[in-house]
Amino acid sequence: MAQTVIIPTPLRRFTGGVETVEVQGSTVGEIFGQLESQFPGIRARLCEENGELRRFINVYVDGEDIRFLDRLETSVGERAEVSIVPAIAGG
């Protein structure tokens, strides 16, 4: 079973302009690894050199912010939707 990852505009140059990508992985970290193998260079945009998620990126699994879950260890169910969303100003 594959999960869907929604790619934000600033990262679409890595995916050839594609908005959503199908990957397989049981955690967010594994999914990032899958993304990296399909689109080399993309993980360095998502994570710091120490592997932590970058400060201005939010990642959601089925709408839930992974900072409320287990961060990159957050498990991702079958058919889950993973959104990568840049931080947005208040309003």
């Binding site: 600033p10 908005e19 990126i57 939010n58 709408g63 912010d65 100003a89």
Partner: protein, 413 residues
């Protein structure tokens, strides 16, 4: 003419052209407008500013437009009120209220950011505009879009105050309540903005939008006789406004229009949504998101995008941050109303309540010149108040006197 050199990543410094872009492709940091301050310094004087109409466009060299403003031409220059009665209640020698509760046209400081963002949207050639909003931005985008002839798409959390919903619908905007928090609305808007070519003022126009908030700071300095206050207390939702007031005072000092500032910045949040205040109190700049639960809905942003920068401004200036309960918010709305005749929304109650708490803690010096930022109008958040309906009387003098006598007796009891 424009004094904008381009956009620049606030985190890694990477340069970008002036386009509807908000996020650095290298590090996801926010982009900001990069100005040619030397050129501005050659033309912008106190006299030039003072000679211009009383709108926020009197500081236009410091705003990111190429040509003339086309939206929000009448916005800005709200009163800075010397609050003597409130000041004496709080023991503050020189207290001011910067009152954007009377902002034109929609009674909140968001009119400032929208004037700049929609003028920029027109320069970029957009026909449709949008926003994610906790209410005030929704009102302002809808009103200004109507006046300028844009199609507007406004997304809000579904539990907003009635006045903020009606005050968006009336302008004919496409208003879409979303089942979730503001942070859920933001996530959706980011995905929408990636698919449609619309100007989302706080998504792809964010670098330009945020600059409008600086005018809140320019006005304070000009109204104080071209000097910054010793302290300013500012409500924090996404955390942008406090950083933009800081930037405003810094720019004016850099241009020689005010003496070197040294203002201390104090940030106000509700205890039910205090990710920035919690970080300041924990001595860190890193924000831990929260799930908001407060009557201060305009401040209910659990994952504040500018929180990291807000904590930096507060700590770097020698200021502090606090949060207050819903009951304290309501009590301060009433105190401001009863002492100064200003009816602030819940965010204003939050800001005043935090100012009082900081004075009591000894963190905010009452001998200094203090400005409290009131950013929205209490008529929009009436649900937060539980005032008993006033008793009515027969249209007879005797009934009136009985009523007054009764009240007088109660008051002296």
């Amino acid at each position: 003419m424009s004094y904008v050199k381009g956009l620049k990543c606030r985190e890694c410094g990477a340069p970008y052209p002036v386009e509807p872009l908000a996020i650095c492709e290298e590090c996801f940091g926010p982009l900001e407008v990069d100005y040619d301050y030397e050129a501005i310094g050659r033309v912008l004087t106190r006299e030039a500013i003072a000679s211009r109409p009383r709108t926020l466009w009197r500081y236009r060299e410091l705003l990111p437009l190429e040509g003339e403003p086309t939206v929000g031409q009448h916005t800005g220059c709200t009163p800075l009120v010397r609050a003597e009665r409130l000041g004496s209640r709080l023991g503050v020698r020189e207290l001011y209220i910067k009152n954007d509760a009377v902002s034109h046209p929609t009674l909140s400081f968001k009119d400032r950011v929208v004037a700049v963002a929609l003028s920029k949207a027109r320069e970029f050639g957009f026909e449709a505009v949008g926003c994610a909003s906790t209410g005030n931005l929704a009102n302002s985008v809808a009103a200004n879009a109507a006046a300028a002839g844009f199609t507007a798409y406004v997304l809000i959390p579904e539990d907003l105050e009635k006045a903020k919903v009606v005050g968006t619908q009336i302008f004919g905007a496409n208003l879409i309540p979303v089942r979730g928090t503001y942070d859920d609305v933001n996530r959706l808007c980011s995905e929408i903005a990636g698919r449609y070519r619309w100007a989302f003022v706080n998504v792809n126009l964010r670098p330009f939008y945020g600059e409008g908030s600086k005018t809140f700071g320019y006005e304070i300095a000009e109204q104080l006789g071209w000097r910054a206050p010793d302290a300013v207390v500012v409500p924090m939702a996404g955390g942008s406004l406090i950083t933009k007031i800081h930037k405003a005072f810094g720019e004016l000092a850099r241009l020689g229009l005010i003496p070197e500032a040294g203002t201390r910045f104090y940030g106000a949040q509700a205890t039910g949504c205090n990710p920035i205040a919690a970080a300041v109190k924990a001595g860190t700049r890193e924000i831990r998101p929260v799930k908001p639960q407060t009557i201060a809905k305009s401040l209910a942003i659990g994952n504040p995008a500018d929180g990291y920068f807000a904590t930096g401004v507060i700590a770097g200036s020698g200021g502090w941050s606090e949060d207050v309960t819903d009951a304290e918010i309501v009590e301060s709305i009433q105190l401001l109303a009863e002492t100064e005749g200003i009816f602030a929304e819940t965010a204003g109650g939050t800001t005043l309540a935090v100012a009082r708490k900081l004075i009591a803690q000894g963190r905010l010096d009452p001998e200094g010149r203090i400005v409290v930022a009131i950013t929205g109008n209490g008529l929009k958040t009436q649900e937060a108040l539980a005032l008993a309906p006033p008793a009515s009387i027969e249209p007879k003098l005797a009934a009136f006197e009985a009523h007054i006598g009764q009240r007088a007796a109660l008051a002296t009891a």
